[in-house]
């Protein structure tokens, strides 16, 4: 438990807080990496997931490829990208986007797939075009599951963004790897405590967003978990 006390002491030391290498700057960088990675992953995964969910085609392919993507070790992807692209932000970004895509993709198509077929048939019967069915029926009804997918992607990316520092980028991995190299385990723990707090805050934010979405788009009490 002594290590925890040392970690708290490290965090509360003003010398470790301010400046370009301080915990605040590193935290901001960390959140920034997470946001960029998840947004870029959303741009790829959501349209693809909607395409699969709406047409019902290519589901097997998506399941298999996202399963394989889960097996990809992030450390390996960071390393390969780092060796090819050199030191910088691009390499870890690729790894983080690859990490985030499977959950978001699954959330997007599962959200559409979980909708009662009768609802979609009814929408078609009242004369909605396929585009209208997608944007006015399927997207709102599939939102809770999509948000769930984005939420777990965010959680994974926040925890894994620490690996960015392995190839020379910033973020909270910076003090973590510094601690590893210098055997300053209190510093490592301090940085990881900040990551956990960030994750908690983001979880709380998503809980709020999900509740709002639930209230806005699902007037009937939802039975899904």
């Amino acid at each position: 438990m002594n290590l925890f006390a040392q970690a708290i002491a490290w965090l509360t030391d003003p010398a470790n807080q301010g400046g370009p290498d301080g915990i605040w700057t590193r935290s901001l960088e960390h959140v920034w990496y997470t946001v960029i990675a998840v947004v870029l992953a959303c741009l790829v995964a959501i349209p693809l997931g909607y395409l699969v969910g709406h047409t019902g085609r290519g589901r097997g392919l998506v399941v298999v490829s996202s399963g394989a993507a889960r097996a990809l070790p992030s450390l390996g992807v960071v390393t390969v990208a780092g060796l090819i692209l050199g030191i910088g932000l691009t390499a870890p970004m690729i790894a983080l986007i690859l990490l985030a895509i499977p959950s978001i993709l699954a959330g997007a198509y599962a959200g559409l797939e979980a909708i009662d077929r009768q609802t979609i048939d009814a929408a078609r019967a009242v004369g909605m075009s396929e585009w209208q069915i997608l944007t006015r029926v399927e997207m709102p009804l599939g939102l809770p599951l999509l948000l769930g997918g984005v939420r777990s992607a965010v959680l994974q990316v926040v925890a894994t963004a620490t690996l960015a520092a392995y190839v020379g980028s910033g973020g909270l991995g910076r003090p973590m790897f510094l601690g590893l190299k210098t055997q300053d385990y209190a510093q490592m723990l301090a940085a990881s405590l900040v990551v956990v707090v960030l994750a908690l805050v983001l979880e709380g934010a998503f809980e709020l967003i999900e509740r709002l979405a639930q209230r806005r788009f699902a007037p009937v009490p939802s039975t899904s978990t």
Partner: protein, 214 residues
């Protein structure tokens, strides 16, 4: 390619070490999640708390966990026990939720009729609820096995013998083939264990195939 062919022995040794760390963690995560999942499924008031607590475990970055855990459980940083313990915790982060979902998905009417037929709590759980929850449990276990095998590599940063060492060594010496070989081996290993789990599931739950082929 030359590097891979010249170092097949090394890759094989690292793969075996990798498997020796992953399998105990996967099995432990599965076994330990059963009572916790049962508790969360049985006592609704505890569900949100249990699931949130274990879900958040997944947000703990793996690298510092490998460092902090030894100070709590009293093993060395590079011990296999440390890596297995950390990976078990991550496995449980996913598996407790999967177990709870699986048990909740069992039709309450079936539970009631089993009770009516005279099953006691434990025998009902083992002979009725667990088999019915089987397919969902298996789905959860497959995710746990894939993510565990992929996560073991992070302990390579500490110098623990597994496929992750191919990443750190390849990065330091600038051998791209070594890192690619490591990734390939991890993915193949994950797919192999996944296939094995599917086969075990088919053997243990012959009835599940009828459900899938609807």
């Amino acid at each position: 390619m030359t590097w891979i062919l010249a170092n097949l022995d090394l890759i094989a040794a690292r793969t075996l070490a990798h498997l020796a760390l992953s399998l105990p963690a996967i099995v432990l995560a599965f076994v330990l999640s059963l009572p916790l999942g049962w508790f969360a499924a049985r006592y609704t008031w505890s569900r949100l708390g249990v699931l949130t607590a274990f879900g958040l475990l997944y947000a703990v970055p793996s690298l510092p966990l490998f460092i902090v855990l030894p100070t709590i459980i009293g093993v060395g940083v590079r011990d296999a026990a440390n890596v297995v313990a950390a990976l078990t915790l991550y496995g449980m982060a996913l598996m407790v939720r999967a177990t709870t979902d699986a048990l909740v998905s069992v039709d309450p009417a079936i539970r009631l009729s089993a009770t009516a037929m005279g099953y006691s709590g434990l025998s009902r759980f083992v002979t009725v609820e667990l088999p019915l929850a089987g397919p969902v449990l298996l789905a959860g276990l497959r995710v746990v096995s894939v993510s565990t095998i992929s996560l073991v590599t992070v302990s390579g940063l500490l110098g623990v013998n597994n496929l992750g060492l191919l990443f750190t060594d390849g990065f330091q010496r600038g051998i791209l083939a070594e890192v690619l070989a490591g990734i390939g081996a991890v993915v193949l290993l994950a797919l192999a264990v996944d296939g094995l789990l599917v086969l075990i599931g088919r053997a243990a739950m012959p009835w599940a195939r009828a459900v899938r082929a609807r």
